[in-house]
Amino acid sequence: MDAKDILGLPKNTLPMQEKKSKPPKESQRKPDGISREVYALTGGLAPLMPAIDANHLRRKVQTENEKWLPFSNSARKDNLQLYHWVRVVNSVPPTGDYSFAKYNKSADVIKYTDEEYEKHLTDNTWTKEETDQLFDLCERFDLRFVVIADRFPSSKTVEELKDRYYSVSRAILTARASSPGEVSGHPLVKEPYNVSQETERKRALSLLLSHTKQQERKDVEVIAHAKRITEARKAIKASQEPLVPALSESGPFNADKDDMTADTAAPSTNPQFPSANPVSETATAAASLRMLRVYLRTYALDHMVQAVSSSAGLRTIKRVEQTLQDLGVNLKPKVPTKAVCAEHLELRKEILTLLNLQKQLQYKEAEGSSFRDSSYTETPGTPPKQSQRAADLDRTFTPESLQIGGNTISNDLLGMILNFPLGKDSLKGSRSARYTPILPCYFVAASDNTSRLPLRRYMYERLIGCNLTFYPFSPTECEDMRILEPRSESSEPVVPCRADGGELR
């Protein structure tokens, strides 16, 4: 019982097929002259199916008015006599040149004399021999620069070769011309070869072509994001202009308002926090409180807190409260005196500013990192020298660590700070004191948590491609970083120290 029974097919078809399939198998035997191993690699011969009807071919060839005749080809210089079939109309063979000879274009490469070279063509990066070689190859391969670059003995990029060729040609042209106007219309003079633009174009093109799907998606996201940001900024600008804070009366919370303006003015460019509002909000809140004949201090505080965070979203308010808790501060003061409430309100405002800044920084870093992703792909078109340099850079960040003041600093961080790469070799059996920084820079021997600050800074510099100049850390900056240090990490106080092991001044 099988599928055939179910389908009602006759059982005897199978043996028939087997019989039939045997003869072709025989014909697929290994042809003579090919070793068994090589033949095995081919996986058998592909079935040959004539794409054109053989009868049709035969008939075409055997047409009456075509003849096998000799012909001469002007593109050839060797007078080789070849034959071909030509159509003969009224028994008159075609006269004239071979029809394909016209495609044998050759570039007229300018020839220069030794005198001319001495006079116009000397170049620091090119010797005369190299230039001669280049022009020989140019003539031989009809300016097919890819081929020329392949054959060229010393390693030069296509762009360099082109640049040399065109600048030489141009120089000769202008030198030989009796007046500058005579050659001004010549394409070589009119549109000179721009090597830097060409290099950049190729780099950009290869960058574009080597993008992965993921990067493309990211780019689209970034562009959309940038659009959102600019739109939000525009909206904020528009909304800020008519919003001249109407502060007139003085109240118990007046001093706070001034601080608010100072705190929120800086991040006003952030689209997330339309920061112009809290000022007026607190003003109106204070005013509405004074309308009451009597109120409780806690009521006033809640009122003001609400006014301050009116512009923030629910999530931000939650985060503010989380931060308060993390700082060990009661959400509602236990002893809500005037001073305590004022301080509490200030603290909340500062936390709002802090969260605001954090958000900004995240945005900025996201913007930066998306650029890094695209710029860090190794472009296929770049010459090997450059990729070698990149490899060097990467190699310097070997995961080794160094003990400074009881704290571990990773090798790469130290390398960044010292402004020169620390390879495995340079670090062997040594201590920090051996390294003298190129720049007078300070760093904090810190645990991972704080070392990310300089690291981030460094990463940013690197991705924007400017020099690896490291910003010197002032003692106050060190102090700041020390504050951020989580207390539980190490019992030992973290001492800011010079990279060369010296004491911080």
């Binding site: 009597v294 006033a300 501060v329 809500p336 301080e343 509490h344 954090q358 600050l453 491609g465 951020l484």
Partner: protein, 268 residues
């Protein structure tokens, strides 16, 4: 009781619900005719502040405890430093659970306290009424009566009561001149120095003996000190400010170089 419910109803209409906060402190506006009656000169930009503490102290009755009366508790409003707040507050109305007999209890003179026996915890509404020259509006406080200690630190004791107190400050913005003059020297009140030398006659606080200094319960009163709170806040602010400075610098570093990042070919 019906009276209080009415006040509550009025309250809902007058105060904007959206500005109310979980602590459920409501400020009522009395009828408008009060404003017209007392046409007094007001001191602008002056704020008189009365620090108060309100709460409950509950004693377990131990062997004497019955099923319906297991605790004896006292609810009170006192000056934070146990000074006499009778100079400001005329009358305090405590609204107890409706299961009590006469649940609305009025205390007409200091000390503003009320003792009861009971077995259950509930929320007590405390309405403060002020003297005529102080304010014609009432102020409502809410306190949850606590009979049982939250942490099971030990067995209930007849010696150690369960004390729950809340510190707050009553603020009178733009007080009347007469009020200011009357309480200017009073220890229960925090009065700012007048910016302009106003020649206000000072009245000696007439000692009515309404303070809670020698209250039998005073040994259980909590001493509220703002110093701890201020210290904690100062430390927190310092930490946050340091963080802000740091973030600003990071931002300025990034901001300082954004144009360069897009210059073609500069990364080689």
């Amino acid at each position: 009781m019906a009276e209080i419910v009415e006040i509550d109803g009025q309250l809902e209409r007058n105060t904007n619900e959206s500005t109310l906060i979980p602590q459920r402190i409501k400020i009522t506006r009395a009828s408008d005719d009060g404003d017209k009656k007392i046409l007094q000169k007001r001191l602008r930009d002056v704020e008189i502040c009365v620090p108060i503490v309100y709460g409950t102290i509950a004693f377990w009755l131990g062997r004497k405890a019955s099923e319906t009366q297991s605790h004896r508790w006292t609810v009170y409003v006192r000056g934070a430093t146990n000074e006499d707040i009778g100079v400001v507050i005329k009358r305090v109305v405590f609204q107890l659970h409706p299961s009590f007999e006469n649940p609305v209890r009025v205390v007409e003179s200091p000390p503003f306290e009320l003792s009861e026996c009971g077995w259950g915890e509930f929320e007590i509404a405390i309405s403060l009424f002020f003297h005529n020259d102080v304010c014609d509006k009432q102020l409502d406080l809410y306190h949850h009566l606590k009979l049982y200690a939250e942490d099971e630190s030990g067995p209930q004791s007849t010696k150690r009561p369960v004390v729950v107190e809340t510190y707050n400050e009553i603020v009178f913005p733009d007080p009347s001149e007469s009020f200011y003059a009357r309480i200017q020297k009073h220890p229960a009140v925090i009065v700012p120095r007048l910016p302009i030398m106003l020649n206000l006659p000072t009245e000696d606080p007439n000692e009515k003996k309404g303070d809670t200094k020698d209250n039998p319960l005073s040994q259980w009163f909590i001493n509220f000190s703002e110093a701890d709170e201020l210290l904690k806040l100062a430390a927190a602010r310092q930490q946050v400010q340091a963080h802000i400075i740091n973030l600003r610098r990071q931002l300025s570093v990034i901001d300082g170089l954004p144009l360069q990042s897009w210059k073609p070919g500069s990364n080689y």
